[in-house]
Symmetry: C2
Subunit: 664 residues, 2 copies
C-alpha cells in the first residue's frame, strides 16, 4: 500500500526488475477515481469501471418496485440512455504535498494531548480551506502513519455521474455470502458509469487502456486504489482492545442486524428489494470482521506482533535520548484504551448506532449539528462541517434517494432497542428517546411524524439555522436534538482522551520506526490512493492446486453443482446464451497484492500500465492482512478484463461499450 508521492519501493526493481517513472505513476494516479471505494477511467470519454458492489448503492437508490436495476441490471446503448445517479461523487487525485511540519507547528509545548489534537485539527482545516481557495481543488489533509506524517491531497471533483451498464446482481455476486471471500470465484462484479461536465461526457487525458499482452500466471500485477483501513502499526495492547472490545461489539451489532434484516426481508418482496444493499453491507462486513477477529484471536499472529514490538521497544529503551523522546508511547496508548473502556459503549450507541442506520435520523442529526456548527469559523467546527466538506455533505443531505418508511421503522426500532440493551432501560436519556413508548411504537411515531423525507423541508431547516431547529416540532429533529448534547460530549471526550492521546503516541512510535527502519514501510491504509503489487499466483488447498484463473466454464459447473441454493442462480440470459460464450475465457484471477476493504473496484494493471482486471474481493486468508500481510495463503481477487469484454459483447449486446473500452 505504497504512497504514490513517495519514491517507488525498491522491491519492485529488486524482485520484478520494474522501476516505474514519475510519468507512469502520474498517469496511473490521474486515471484512478475515488468513487466511494475505487475505480478508474477506461476511455477518453469519462467512462468509469468499478465494481457492481461499489455502484450498487446508486442502483438501489435509482430502483423502484417496478424497475429494479439492482436485480435485473441495466445497459444504456447510447449516451442519451445513460441515467443520472442521485448522489454520486467522483474524485480524481491531482496533487499532493507534505504538510507535516505545518501541522506539527500548531502544537506548542505545554498543551495537553486533547489540546494538541484540537490544534492539529484546526491546522488541518486551515490548510484545506486555504488550498481550496488557492487552487479550486477539493483539499484534504491525510493523517499518515497514525499521526507521524500529514499529507495534503488535492482532488478534481465531479457529481454529474450517469449509469452506463450493470449486470444482474446474481451474476455480479454469483455464489452469494457462501462464496464471498472464497476462491475459486466466478463473479462479474462490474459496473460502468460515465462522468459528465456541463452536460457532456468528460474528456480525460488519463485513462487506462486494455492490456496489449494477455495476463498469465506468474505475471507482475499492480493495483491502484483506496484501501480503507489497516491496523498494522497498532501496538499489541491496542490490538487486544480491538480483540476484546471493539470487534466483538461491532460483530454483535452485525450478527443482530443480519438476523433482523433477514426477517424483515422475508416478509415480502418489496421489503427484500428495499433492504438489499443494507443486507449485503451487513453480511459483507460480518464476514470480513469474523475473519479479522480470527486473526486477532490467533496466538501465532499475536506472538509475531509482540516480537516486532518488543524489538522496537528494546531498541528505544537502549538509548536514554530515544527512551525520553518515544519511550512512553506504548503505555500511553494502552492507558487511553483503558480510559475508553469506561465510556466505549455509551459513545458507540449515542454518537453511532442509536439511529440504526436510519436515513431520516441521519438527516436530522446533520441538520441539528449544522445549525450549531456553521455559524463558527470553519477551523473551529466539528471536522465534517468544515467549509471544504460542505459540498459533499449537501450532496448527501439533499439526496433525492427514496426513503422507505417500513425500512426506516425497522432501523429506528432496532437502534432504540439497542440503546436499551446496551445502556439499560432506566437510563434517563434512553427514556427520553423512547418518550414512554416501546421501541417499535416509538419508531413508527417518529417515522410517520417526520417531514424530513421532503427535501424542501430539509433545506428550509438548514437555511433557518439554530432558530429553525429550536422551533421545529419535527419528532426526528427533536430526537436528534435530545441526544446531541451527550453525543457531542462523548465525542469530545473521545477526541481529547483517546484519539488525541493515541495520535501523539503513534507519532512517536512512527518516528521510532523511521529512525530504526527508514521509511521503508508504508503507512496503514487511510482510504486514499495507494499502489500495491505482486505476481498472479494460484494456491494449494489440502494438497490440491487451485489455479490462479477461473473461466466461464467453471461458473457453469459451480452453478450446476450448487443448483437451487441461495446465491447460485444464474439469470435467464446466462442460461440461454451459454453456447455463444467462449467458455474458456478467463473470468476471475488471484494474485498477491496487498489490498483491503476500499480497494473494491481498483484497476489491476501490468507493467505497461495497461488494464488487465479490477479487484473485487480478497480470500478469507487475506482478512488477516488487516494486522499483518503475508502472501503464503492470502490473495487479492480480481475480475479479468477478458471476461468483462466477452460478457459485454455476448450477454449484454453491448458491443459499442466493449469497443469503447478497447479503443476500437
Amino acid at each position: 500500500m505504497w504512497l504514490l508521492e513517495a519514491p517507488p519501493p525498491p522491491a519492485l526493481q529488486e524482485r520484478y526488475g520494474f522501476s516505474p517513472g514519475p510519468d507512469w505513476l502520474d498517469h496511473l494516479q490521474k486515471s484512478c477515481v475515488r468513487i466511494g471505494a475505487s475505480g478508474s477511467f477506461v476511455s477518453p470519454h469519462g467512462l468509469i469501471l468499478t465494481n457492481h458492489h461499489v455502484g450498487a448503492g446508486q442502483l438501489q437508490k435509482m430502483s423502484t418496485s417496478e424497475r429494479n436495476y439492482l436485480k435485473d441490471g441495466f445497459y444504456a446503448p447510447s449516451l442519451k440512455d445513460e441515467i443520472p445517479c442521485p448522489d454520486m461523487e467522483v474524485m480524481v487525485l491531482w496533487s499532493t504535498e507534505d504538510v507535516t511540519k505545518r501541522i506539527e507547528g500548531a502544537v506548542t509545548t505545554g498543551m495537553t494531548p486533547g489540546e494538541d489534537e484540537k490544534a492539529r485539527r484546526k491546522a488541518m482545516t486551515e490548510i484545506e480551506d486555504a488550498s481550496e481557495k488557492a487552487t479550486g481543488l477539493k483539499s484534504q489533509v491525510v493523517k499518515l502513519y497514525r499521526g507521524a506524517r500529514y499529507h495534503l491531497y488535492r482532488y478534481r471533483r465531479y457529481t454529474d455521474v450517469r449509469l452506463v451498464m450493470a449486470p444482474e446482481e446474481e451474476t455480479a455476486f454469483f455464489g452469494g455470502d457462501t462464496d464471498n471471500f472464497e476462491y475459486p470465484r466466478y463473479d462479474l462484479d462490474i459496473c460502468l458509469f460515465r462522468v459528465y461536465e456541463n452536460g457532456h461526457p468528460l474528456e480525460v487525458e488519463h485513462y487506462l487502456k486494455v492490456g496489449r499482452d494477455e495476463a498469465h500466471e506468474g505475471d507482475l500485477a499492480l493495483v491502484f486504489g483506496h484501501p480503507g483501513r489497516t491496523n498494522r502499526l497498532c501496538t499489541v495492547d491496542h490490538l487486544r482492545f480491538q480483540r476484546d472490545i471493539e470487534i466483538p461489539t461491532n460483530l454483535a451489532w452485525l450478527w443482530r442486524r443480519e438476523v433482523q434484516l433477514t426477517t424483515f426481508m422475508a416478509r415480502n418482496d418489496e421489503n427484500a428489494r428495499i433492504a438489499d444493499r443494507e443486507f449485503f453491507g451487513v453480511q459483507n462486513s460480518r464476514k470480513s470482521r469474523v475473519g479479522y477477529m480470527a486473526s486477532l484471536q490467533d496466538p501465532e499472529i499475536a506472538r509475531t506482533e509482540l516480537d516486532l514490538e518488543t524489538k522496537l521497544r528494546a531498541w528505544v529503551a537502549a538509548d536514554p535520548a530515544r527512551q525520553a523522546a518515544w519511550g512512553d508511547a506504548w503505555d500511553a496508548i494502552a492507558s487511553a484504551d483503558s480510559t475508553y473502556r469506561g465510556f466505549y459503549w455509551r459513545h458507540q450507541v449515542l454518537d453511532g448506532r442509536v439511529g440504526g442506520g436510519s436515513a431520516l435520523f441521519g438527516i436530522a442529526r446533520n441538520l441539528v449539528r449544522m445549525a450549531a456548527e456553521l455559524p463558527k469559523p470553519s477551523k473551529d467546527r466539528l471536522r465534517e462541517y468544515r467549509d471544504t466538506n460542505l459540498e459533499s455533505l449537501e450532496l448527501d443531505l439533499y439526496s433525492p434517494a427514496p426513503i422507505y418508511p417500513t425500512l426506516e421503522t425497522d432501523r429506528i426500532a432496532s437502534g432504540l432497542s439497542y440503546a436499551i440493551e446496551t445502556l439499560g432501560g432506566d437510563d434517563p436519556l434512553v427514556q427520553a428517546m423512547l418518550a414512554g413508548k416501546a421501541p417499535r411504537a416509538r419508531a413508527e411515531e417518529l417515522v410517520h411524524g417526520s417531514k424530513l423525507a421532503d427535501i424542501a423541508v430539509r433545506k428550509a431547516l438548514a437555511a433557518g439555522g439554530t432558530a429553525a431547529i429550536a422551533a421545529s416540532g419535527d419528532p426526528m429533529i427533536r430526537l436528534a436534538a435530545a441526544i446531541d448534547p451527550e453525543a457531542r460530549a462523548l465525542r469530545q471526550r473521545y477526541e481529547d482522551t483517546v484519539d488525541g492521546v493515541q495520535t501523539d503516541a503513534y507519532a512517536k512510535i512512527g518516528a521510532a520506526n523511521f529512525a530504526l527502519h527508514g521509511e521503508e514501510i508504508y503507512p496503514d491504509a487511510t482510504g486514499t490512493l495507494r499502489m500495491a503489487f505482486g505476481p498472479i499466483r494460484g494456491l494449494e488447498e489440502d494438497g490440491h492446486p487451485i489455479p490462479a484463473f477461473t473461466t466461464f466454464a467453471g461458473m457453469y459447473e459451480r452453478a450446476a453443482e450448487r443448483k437451487g441454493k441461495l446465491g447460485f442462480e444464474l439469470p435467464p440470459r446466462w442460461v440461454e446464451r451459454k453456447d455463444r460464450l467462449h467458455l474458456d475465457t478467463p473470468l476471475n484471477f488471484i494474485f498477491t497484492a496487498d489490498i483491503i476493504g476500499g480497494n473494491s473496484g481498483s484497476p489491476v494493471v501490468d507493467r505497461h500500465g495497461d488494464l488487465i482486471g479490477l479487484i473485487f474481493d480478497g480470500n478469507i486468508e487475506s482478512l488477516a492482512w488487516d494486522v499483518a500481510y503475508s502472501d503464503t495463503r492470502g490473495r487479492a481477487v480480481a475480475v479479468d478484463i477478458r471476461g468483462i469484454l466477452e460478457a459485454l459483447r455476448v450477454m449484454y449486446d453491448a458491443k459499442p461499450l466493449a469497443d469503447e473500452i478497447e479503443g476500437r
Copy 2:
C-alpha cells in the same frame, strides 16, 4: 396454568358453567405425557400424539445422509415397522403431594440464604430418594410460586419409544421462520410415537378419544401440558435485570449462532441436514426471546407490573407484622441481581456456553462431574446427579445418537471464541482452554483427538470414576476438567448469593400474595403439568377479521402467494394429491388458553375431555404472556384433529393409524 392437584378454578364454572370432577381431571392427567415438551396417549395401545417439532430431535438423530426422516417424513404401516428412538423418555404423572412443610422444616433459624438453599435442596433430594424407593415411581420435587410451595410429583417412566409417523418438515413447519408465531397458520405440526413395555405396545387405561362433537368458534377448549417457564411473579427490579442483562445476553448469543449456523449450513447439503434441528431451535428461541424482550421494553407493561407491585408492597407496609415478615423481600431480590451482575457473564460462559452446545463437551463435563459427585451421598450432590435422576442422565450420556465432527468443531470454535469475546483473550482460564491455538484450530484438535464419540469409552470413564478422569488423556476430558473448578465455584456462588436469596425472598412475596389474594393465582410455569382454558376465538387485525379456523384450502393459497420463498414449498405428495383432500377441513385454530413454550404438543380437549387438537404455537402477542397474560390479542395456536385425520388418510396412506386414533 392451573395445578391439577388444586381445586378447579372458579372461573371455569363462572364463565363456562363447567366443573370438572376429580375423575375427569385424573383421566386427563394420566392421559398426558411429558416427552421433552408435551403430548398425550391417543389410543389404548400406547400411541402418543405430539408435535413434529417435539419429536424432531429424535428424527434428526435417527436420520443419515441416505435416509432423512426429518425432511422426508415417515410412516410405519405395522408395528414391526416402528423404529426405536435412540434416547427418548416418556413420563406420566401418577400422583402428587404437598411437601412444603417438610422442605421448610429443613431450614433452621440462623442459616444464611445460601445455607437455607442448600438445606432445601438436600431435603428435596431426600424426599425424592425416599419416594422413589417406596413407590418405584420417578419422583421429583417441584418448587412452585418461586419457593412459596413445594410439591412432590411421581411419574411412570418409559424409554422404549418408537416412531410411528412423521410428516415432512415442510408440511409440519409450513411457513418457516417467517410464519412462526404468526396467524393464520397452516401447519401439520404432528408426530406419532408408540410406547412399548417388555417388547409390546403399552396398554393404557387412560387415553384421549377423538371429539364426538365438532369444534366451533366460541367453544370452550382446555389444554393440558407442561408450560416451561413464566416470569409473572417476578418483581419489577427482577424484570429490569432480565430486560437489561439476561435477555440481551441471551439474544446476542442466539443472533450470533443463527448467523454462524446459517453459514455452516450453506456450505453443503450434509451440513444443512445435520444442523437442521439446532438451527430451528436457535431461530425459534430467537423469535420468542425477541417477543419477550419487546414486552419487557414496553413501558405500558412495565407500568402495569409496577402498579401491582406497588399495591402489594403498600399493603405489606401498612401492617408492622407483615412488614417485619415480608417487607425486605423486594430489596433482597434487587440486591441479589445486583450481586449477580458482578459475575453474570463469567457464570454464563464457564458454566454454560463455553462448549457451544457440543455433544462431546457435554459428555466430557458430565463424566468429570459424575466422577466427583457419585461418591457423595445423593443429597449432597449437585442436584442433577441425585440418584433419582441418574437413569435420565445415563439415557442421554450413553445415547447412540450420531456425533458429527464438522458440527462439533463449529460449536466448540464458536464457544471458545465466545469465551474470548466475553472474558477477553488474556484471561488465564481462556488461555488454558485455547492451549496456544486459535479457536478453530483448537476445536479441530479437541474434536479429532477425543474418543468420546465411542459409547464404550464413555462407560469405561464413568466406571473408572475420579481415577479414570485424572488419568485420561482425552483432550475433551482435560478441557472440561480444566474449566470445572471455576465453573462449579461460579455455580455455587450463584446458588448461594443469587438463587438462594431470591428463593427466600419469593417465598415471602408468595406468602404475602396468598394472604392478600388467597390462592387464586396459579404459580409461574415450572415445566410440570398444568391446565389452561379459554374459548376458540378469532382476531381482528387492522380492521380485518381473522377467523379462528384455517383450512387446507388456505394452505394452498398461502403456498401459491409465497411461491419460491424459503419455508413455503409443499412436498410433492401435497401437490399431487391436492384434489383428493377435502379442502375445507379445518387445519389449525386459535383460542385464548394461557400457554407458553413447553406446551408444544399439549392435547386440546373439549368439556367431554375429548381430543379436538394439539397446541403447536402461540402468536407474537402471546409472547408477552411470559410477563402477563391477556386475551385481547394473544392466542394459542393448535392443529385441528380433523386436519390430522384427513391428512393421515389422504396424504400418508395411513388409514389404519387414523382408525386407531378414532377407535374404529
